[in-house]
């Protein structure tokens, strides 16, 4: 068997295992740490697909920034009451069963939908950009998708304003 196939199945097993651990673990901090492992392993999968820049971005943004924020915020709170209110009671059970059903539906639907989709992918779709080098990505990003790129800058500015506004709200469960 080819080494890359073997590697892919190894990495995929790790991803699925830790993704399940995220959901099953009842301590939110452990969940966040498992999610961080999932993110790093996903970066390795991008590596395997020769999407090197995306792999680097996955490491810097998701593993190095977003998950650090998650872990930090989890550690900032003393989650005891919240843990109970989210893990016990009729409402929580309803949400659990509902989301499990939803997940099964999503898996089923994605298997059904991707069955016909896989052979259709060709080199002209944006997904194929990952195969070409970062320079080609840059040329596409700054010519064809320039408008979306500038809009993204504006969106990030809006998020910054929103985050500052949210942090100033007084009250709530945390006094």
């Amino acid at each position: 068997m080819d080494v890359s196939i073997l590697l892919f199945y190894g990495l995929a097993t790790i991803i699925v295992f830790f993704a399940l651990a995220v959901v099953i673990s009842d301590n939110p901090i452990y969940s966040a740490l498992y999610l961080a492992i999932t993110m790093v392993t996903l970066a390795f999968v991008y590596f395997l697909l020769k999407a090197f820049f995306i792999a680097g971005v996955q490491l810097i943004v998701y593993a190095g920034a977003v998950m650090v924020l998650f872990v930090m915020v989890m550690m900032m709170f003393d989650l005891k009451k919240e843990k109970n209110s989210f893990s016990k009671g009729k409402f929580a059970n309803f949400i659990k069963v509902g989301s499990a059903g939803w997940l099964c539906g999503l898996i089923f639907a994605s298997i059904m939908l991707s069955k016909g989709m896989l052979p259709l992918a060709n080199t002209n779709t944006p997904q194929a950009v990952a195969d070409t080098s970062t320079k080609e990505l840059a040329i596409l990003l700054y010519t064809d998708y320039i408008f979306a790129f500038e809009l993204l800058g504006l969106l990030l500015l809006l998020i910054a304003v929103g985050a500052v506004a949210v942090s100033r709200i007084k009250g709530g469960t945390h006094e």
Binding site: I29, L33, A36, V40, A43, F52, F53, A55, G56, V57, Q58, L59, I60, A63, G64, A65, V68, V71, M72, M75, M76, T134
Partner: protein, 386 residues
């Protein structure tokens, strides 16, 4: 990893040697730090055990090994043990991705009655095409071991120290990331080896579309990016949690930061991680701004010719050349490591709000200005105006 057993085993051994080299450099650096700080402060430092106090390192190692295994109550045991082990990984991988010398090209040779085909061994643990982005991404994972250590200790000083050092690390990562954009604009590549190749020879640049050469200066990045180099080196100090940015260890308010509850070898491992980070940072500084393994006015080809002229075989000449240039790279790394130590014992620690102000309100705008100025200057210089 390689086509046949010989290549695979050489690559594996090389990888482990580079890692062990990193780990072995730590006690030596600790000795240099203690002796150096002593001389800076007009003391003698450790000088009793062995010549120049050198066997003090061994005594320290033995002491660390025979420490009692102690875990305070109500800790999260698994995370408590995992944190120091995890802290080794980012430094080791980041250091492994940086080329420490020229790649060695081995021609076909015979051994044990069978021929081994031509090989090319890179003088690093592994080659990644996106060098800079990869190293930046891997070293940003260093925050996890701190957070894990701080939270699992069940001590408020540990947690506060971890949160502080984490907030500090991510704040300075912005200035770090932005100061590298200037380097990318200059060389147009993510790859370290290509970047070092571009820094060979005398200082040569484009002036309004014409090539200008200054024969008495090496073609190093520091001459193009002086502000970027200063910003990068400052940000790296904050990334590695060294004084003047070692807020996690502000004894008066936080005891010892995120490793308050650690002792013995577990504590030592955090130090190996920290010094490993310093080594990776010094190597990056050398690659970006000081020509990597380049020796000014000495091209690798001429060195190889000289070795061949001495009667060495082609393979031996290639190996000797690589090791000569490795000495140059290593000297640069050691110089920057000394600067790390020198600064630690010269400049006092910042207050926390001053530190965050420096990161967000001073270094980030300056890094931004550096990027914009570099882009405009490169545009003016490289465009063919005629």
């Amino acid at each position: 990893m390689g086509a046949d057993l010989f290549e695979v085993s050489v690559n594996l051994v090389k990888m482990i040697i580079i890692f062990v080299m990193m780990v072995q450099l730590v006690p030596l650096l600790v000795w240099v730090e203690r002796r150096g700080s002593a001389f800076i402060q007009n003391r003698l430092g450790p000088n009793r055990v062995g010549p120049l106090g050198l066997t003090q390192l061994l005594a320290d190692a033995v002491k660390f090994i025979f420490k009692e295994e102690f875990v305070p109550e109500k800790t999260k045991r698994f995370l408590f043990y995992a944190a120091p082990v995890v802290s080794l990984v980012p430094a080791a991988i980041a250091f492994g991705a940086i080329p420490l010398s020229l790649p060695i090209n081995i021609e076909q040779f015979e051994m044990f009655g069978s021929t081994f085909g031509p090989y090319r061994f890179a003088f690093q643990s592994f080659e990644v095409g996106i060098g800079i982005v990869f190293v930046l991404g891997i070293s940003s994972l260093g925050a996890y071991s701190m957070l894990m250590a701080g939270w699992s200790s069940n001590n408020k000083y540990s947690l506060l120290g971890a949160l502080r050092s984490c907030a500090q690390m991510i704040s300075y990562e912005l200035a770090l990331g932005l100061s590298i954009v200037g380097i990318l604009l200059l060389y147009g590549t993510f790859d370290f080896a290509t970047m070092i190749d571009a820094q060979q020879g005398p200082l040569t640049f484009m002036l309004l579309g014409k090539e200008v050469s200054v024969p008495f200066l090496p073609n190093w990045g520091i001459f193009y990016q002086p502000l970027g180099a200063i910003l990068f080196f400052t940000a790296v100090f904050a990334e590695t949690n060294r004084t003047p940015f070692d807020l996690p260890e502000a004894e008066a308010e936080l005891v010892a930061g995120y490793h308050t509850e650690y002792s013995g070898l577990k504590m030592n491992m955090f130090y190996i991680g920290e010094y490993g980070h310093m080594m990776a940072a010094s190597a990056l500084m050398a690659v970006f701004y000081f020509g990597g393994y380049d020796i000014p006015f000495l091209s690798p080809d001429s060195v190889r010719e000289t070795f061949l002229g001495w009667g060495l075989s082609a393979n031996k000449a290639a190996i000797a050349t690589a090791f000569l240039f490795h000495v140059s790279m290593f000297a640069k790394i050691l110089f920057f490591l000394w600067v790390f130590i020198w600064v630690r014992w010269t400049i006092p620690r910042f207050r926390y709000d001053q530190l965050m102000d420096l990161g967000w309100k001073t270094m980030l705008p300056w890094a931004l200005a550096n990027t914009i100025i570099t882009a405009i200057v490169i545009y003016i210089m490289r465009t063919n105006w005629s």
